[in-house]
């Protein structure tokens, strides 16, 4: 661990380094989390897919914490209505939910900040899907 990162940790600021070397501030509990992006512009039909991804990552990589970043046109906090069933289905992991905006530029900004192994869940015919092409991300379509 570099000296800078050690110093930042000491100051209780946790950083995740991404492909563009940008950083985001996070809670301690978001440490060692797997990051997921859910693009919510309709009902979350991909619920099973998200839960399955969590289970797989938990088994394979030992993740017990997930941060769900939401891009949604429903706005804050109304997007939570679409996420409610998912949140109610999770009992075994720590989950942190963050609202990150509604537009494709919000989505791109977010993706630039996240680790490259983050999972992205998006509706197959979402208008935001073009923004994700050519980025080599773990994209899950429903």
């Amino acid at each position: 661990m570099s000296l800078i990162v050690k110093c930042l940790k000491h100051l209780n600021i946790i950083y995740v380094r991404n492909v563009q070397n940008l950083v985001i501030e996070m809670l301690d509990i978001e440490l060692k989390s797997h990051h997921m992006v859910i693009v919510l512009d309709s009902d979350l039909d991909g619920l099973e897919m998200v839960l399955r991804n969590m289970a797989e990552l938990s088994i394979k990589n030992g993740f017990r914490r997930f941060v769900i970043h939401v891009i949604s046109t429903y706005g804050n906090p109304y997007y939570l209505e679409k996420l409610r069933y998912l949140l109610q289905s999770i009992t075994s992991y720590t989950v942190v939910v963050r609202y990150e905006g509604s537009s494709s530029s919000d989505l791109l900004k977010l993706i630039n900040k996240l680790p490259s192994d983050s999972s992205i869940f998006i509706r197959r015919d979402s208008p935001l899907i073009d923004a994700l092409k050519e980025r080599g991300l773990n994209i899950y379509l429903w």
């Binding site: 209780n12 809670l27 301690d28 509990i29 017990r64 914490r65 939570l80 939910v97």
Partner: protein, 507 residues
């Protein structure tokens, strides 16, 4: 202008929580119902009278969960305090974070949702909380940029109240044991950083014993936690998802002394199953339980109550070690105490349903023996002047009419034993938290028959309990009178309702 200490973090709740319920914890349950037959103000006084505060508005007693959060933040170096909801305005200038906690913010939990469904009227806990959040002080706080954090066992209910979430400007909702996250969240809030909207603390992030702080000021009616989590794994329960931890005796003792210093002479031992303190899996270990009671009685001169105990533990402890009789005679029913109150869970009288939904609730006895376990432990409690307030769940997933009939039969068998039984509609929690709620339209004639039997049982014993044990102190006479009046009112209403219901359901 009163000169008060400036607290950057104010922790609070509405009046239904911030009360000692006249020193009688059970009266707090009145706040889960609507004001039936009485003006709301009088009902609120019955259920949740105002509590004594100091000059800064800090309550002498406060809900235990809020005290834990307060202690955690103080230990981390924050200027934090629990403040009575009527005194928040004194801290508007210095407040940067407002934290609200509740057992049942919006009356979606049991038994509030049931009274709401039956009467069609909103319970007073919901009305009181929403009134508090809409108060001028809270609105002013929000307008000046105070961050609002909501949490506690009812945190999940905010997911169903998104309009109100927005109206109140809630910044983050924390669901689960908060010790590991709350310091960090508050620090970020104070620094003006972006907060997440929702945090669910999973089992891997539950705090260790060392991370659980000792409360700094008194808890309501001397309630102190002796263990967290439960090993029984019932599917409808959220507590069972958390690992089991026993609070060491020295930590429990420290909290008792905090309460005694504030003049609280009673203690409520909080646990999902007090008899499993220091236990061997699901079997009670007498030495650990006796040591606990010995230590508590050494300090507590008033009454000792158990928050919860499991019926299987009661039977096992008495059948194998005569532990219940020993605890009752040597530590509990002493000079200052003539009964012990405890909440227990029956949930169903059907062995078939018990095997599916709560296979380990009867352990070490098999689930097929569940009705016998319930009956035996009710007898043991009756013989030792332990008065249970028992819960029973209507509409558990997979329930059929056979199960309801078996439960009704069990209720009849429990008639000789002094107890209060409260039916509750299924609320999705625990492993079943993604299941459907029980709704009024799901009520069958079997359910109604069962509920009538339960109400008759409870009314019968409530009068006996009031006459011989409860609210005997002279200063509680007006309260006793009002409650007796209420019981008569319920009887009268029931006598008129039953024929109508029977005519309707048998048509």
């Amino acid at each position: 202008m009163i000169d008060v200490t400036s607290y950057e973090v104010v922790i609070t709740s509405d009046r239904t929580m911030m009360s000692n319920h006249h020193g009688k914890e059970f009266l707090g349950f009145l706040a889960t119902g609507p004001a039936v037959g009485l003006p709301e103000k009088l009902w609120m006084w019955l259920a949740a009278p105002k509590i004594k505060v100091d000059g800064e508005g800090r309550p002498i007693e406060a809900p235990y969960g809020l005290r834990k959060i307060e202690a955690k933040l103080i230990d981390a170096g924050f200027r934090a305090a629990v403040i009575d909801p009527d005194h928040i305005h004194k801290h508007l200038d210095g407040m940067k974070v407002l934290m609200v906690g509740h057992h049942d913010f919006f009356a979606y939990g049991p038994p509030s949702n049931e009274w709401w469904l039956i009467t069609g009227e909103e319970p007073v806990n919901r009305l009181s909380f929403m009134r508090f959040m809409r108060s001028e002080t809270v609105r002013k706080a929000k307008a000046k940029g105070v961050k609002v954090i909501a949490g506690g066992p009812a945190a999940w209910q905010w997911l169903w109240e998104l309009d109100f979430w927005r109206e109140c400007g809630i910044d983050v909702v924390v669901d689960g044991e908060a010790e590991r996250v709350i310091v960090d969240l508050v620090r970020k809030a104070l620094d003006g950083e972006e907060l997440p909207n929702y945090v669910f603390v999973g089992p891997a992030d539950t705090p260790s014993i060392d991370e659980i702080p000792v409360i700094k000021a008194a808890s309501v009616n001397g309630l102190i936690e002796v263990m967290r989590g439960c090993p029984r794994g019932c599917k409808f329960c959220s507590v069972t998802l958390r690992p089991l931890r026993f609070i060491p005796l020295d930590k429990i003792e420290k909290e008792i002394l905090v309460n005694i210093k504030s003049g609280i002479t009673n203690a409520i031992l909080h646990s999902e199953d007090v008899l499993l303190y220091g236990g061997d899996g699901i079997k009670p270990r007498p030495e650990a339980v006796i040591k606990l009671h010995e230590m508590v009685r050494k300090h507590v001169k008033g009454s000792i109550a158990w928050s919860h105990a499991s019926l299987a533990s009661i039977k096992y402890a008495e059948d194998n070690f005569k532990l219940i009789s020993r605890l009752a005679s040597e530590y509990l029913l002493t000079e200052g105490q003539n009964f012990l109150g405890v909440e227990v869970g029956i949930e169903t009288g059907s062995p078939r349903l018990a095997e599916i939904i709560m296979p380990a609730k009867s352990a070490p006895y098999p689930a097929s023996m569940w009705p016998e376990v319930v009956e035996d432990s009710f007898r043991i409690m009756h013989e030792n002047t332990i008065i249970p307030a028992a819960t029973l769940i209507i509409g558990l997933p997979g329930e059929n009419s056979y199960d309801v009939v078996k439960t009704a039969e069990l209720i009849d068998k429990l008639r000789p034993y002094r107890s209060i039984i409260v039916p509750m509609f299924f609320v999705p929690m625990g492993v079943l938290k993604n299941r459907d709620w029980f709704k009024k339209q799901y009520l069958t004639s079997d359910h109604i028959d069962l509920m009538i039997r339960i109400v008759n049982h409870t009314l019968y014993w409530a009068e006996d309990i009031m006459n011989k044990f409860y609210l005997r102190e002279p200063y509680l006479t007006p309260l006793r009178f009002l409650l007796k009046l209420f019981i008569q009112y319920v009887k009268w209403r029931l006598s008129r309702l039953v024929p109508v219901i029977e005519a309707t359901t048998h048509r």
